[in-house]
Structures are given as structure tokens and as C-alpha cells.
């Protein structure tokens, strides 16, 4: 399995948005529920377009929804 450094708090945001289901979010951003499941579990990094669409659903900025956390990254 490839290492995925993108994490998200989509699950929490869904809960606070009237307990939105994964299926509802998937329909709102035009993907399958399986894609939302994979993103929430950190098993898939969404494209930039999809990431922006998801952020827009929650009226949040991209940084408020997704985080980039590489392990051992040196500046």
C-alpha cells in the first residue's frame, strides 16, 4: 500500500453539518461513496478539484479540511 500523507477531518465536518452521510457528500461532489470512504480513511488523496469541491460543501478553506503531514520531511 502506498504511503498517503493527506489527512482530513471530513468525518467530523459531516457530523456537524446535520449529520450528513457519506452518500450525501458523495452526491454533492459527484463521486461514489467508496471514494469518500477511502478519503476519510486516508487511503486515497483526492485531486485538487475534488478537494476544493469537498471544502466548498462545508464552507471551509482547503486547509481547514485537509492536512499534509509527511513523515521525516526536512525543510
Amino acid at each position: 500500500m502506498s504511503k498517503n500523507y493527506i489527512s482530513s477531518n471530513i468525518r467530523t465536518l459531516r457530523f456537524h453539518k446535520d449529520e450528513m452521510t457519506q452518500q450525501q457528500l458523495a452526491e454533492a461532489v459527484d463521486v461514489t461513496r467508496q471514494t469518500i470512504v477511502a478519503i476519510e480513511k486516508g487511503k486515497y488523496s483526492p485531486s485538487l478539484e475534488l478537494a476544493f469541491k469537498i471544502a466548498r460543501v462545508f464552507d471551509k478553506k482547503l486547509d481547514d479540511v485537509f492536512a499534509y503531514e509527511p513523515v521525516g520531511d526536512k525543510k
Partner: protein
């Protein structure tokens, strides 16, 4: 092991239909071959036709079997049957599974060519290609299931 979603079951259904379709087709072809007495040219033509016909037979039988399995799954589990179009995640999985298919197929094709170079029996050579197609298809289905579960 958590319960499989319909999207995760589909590659397993596809795997089952691949095996059933191939076994049924190969059994039918073997019966035909056993009835014939063919010279070298005849054998080449026969097995070439078998491989060419495998493609449409596979496509049609897999479609029919997939529909049947999906309906059976819906009846047994009560899950809503959805035929979602491929999104970016699905397309990436499809690309990677197809890539794995081609890697295995190329390897099998090279074995096939080697068998011709070393004058193997025509029956054996063409069966190498036939079973390469089967193994490649199985690898593709298993890859799809793996990527669906583990991510890409």
C-alpha cells in the same frame, strides 16, 4: 474483517464470472478439439479461432453473470443496487488493475513465443496463451479488489 460494500464485492463477482466463463468455454472447446483430427495448419487455425472467439464470449458471459450475481446479492443482502459511473478513484483503480493485467499478459506472451521457438507442441503453445489470458484477468480482478480495500 469488516463487511464488504457492493463496490468491493464487484471485483469478486467479476473474478467468479471470469473463472466460470473460462472453464465453461474451455470445456466446450476441448470437446470440439477431441472430435477433430487436425494437421499442424488445422491446429493453428483452430486454436487461433478459439482465442479470437474468447473475447466476445468473455464479454457477453461476464455481463450476463454480473447482472445475475448483482441481483442475487441484492435479494440476499437487501443492499440497494447501484451502477455508479467511474469517478477519479474508480478510474485510478481501473488503470492500475489494467496495468497489472498487461504486465502478466506480456510475461505469458513471452513464454508463448519461447514455446514456439523451442518447438513445443502447438496444443501446448496455444494453451499457454489461453491460460495467460485467464491468469491476467484474475490478477486484474484481484488487483481491483486489493486497491479498493487498501487504497491507491
Amino acid at each position: 474483517m469488516e463487511k464488504l460494500s457492493l463496490a468491493e464485492k464487484r471485483p469478486l463477482f467479476s473474478l467468479l464470472t471470469t473463472i466460470i466463463s473460462f472453464v465453461a468455454y474451455y470445456w466446450y472447446v476441448s470437446e470440439l478439439y477431441a472430435e477433430k483430427i487436425l494437421d499442424l495448419q488445422g491446429q493453428i487455425e483452430f486454436w487461433s479461432a478459439v482465442i479470437l472467439l474468447l473475447i466476445p464470449v468473455f464479454v457477453v458471459s461476464k455481463i450476463i453473470l454480473m447482472i445475475i450475481l448483482t441481483i442475487i446479492n441484492a435479494i440476499i443482502t437487501g443492499e440497494e443496487t447501484r451502477f455508479d459511473k467511474l469517478d477519479e478513484f474508480g478510474k485510478l483503480i481501473d488503470i492500475k488493475a489494467t496495468r497489472n493485467f498487461y504486465h502478466v499478459f506480456i510475461f505469458g506472451f513471452l513464454i508463448f513465443l519461447n514455446s514456439l521457438v523451442f518447438s513445443f507442441n502447438v496444443f501446448i503453445s496455444f494453451n499457454i496463451i489461453l491460460f495467460t489470458i485467464l491468469v491476467s484477468a484474475i490478477i486484474a480482478d484481484l488487483s481491483e479488489f486489493y486497491y479498493m480495500r487498501s487504497g491507491v
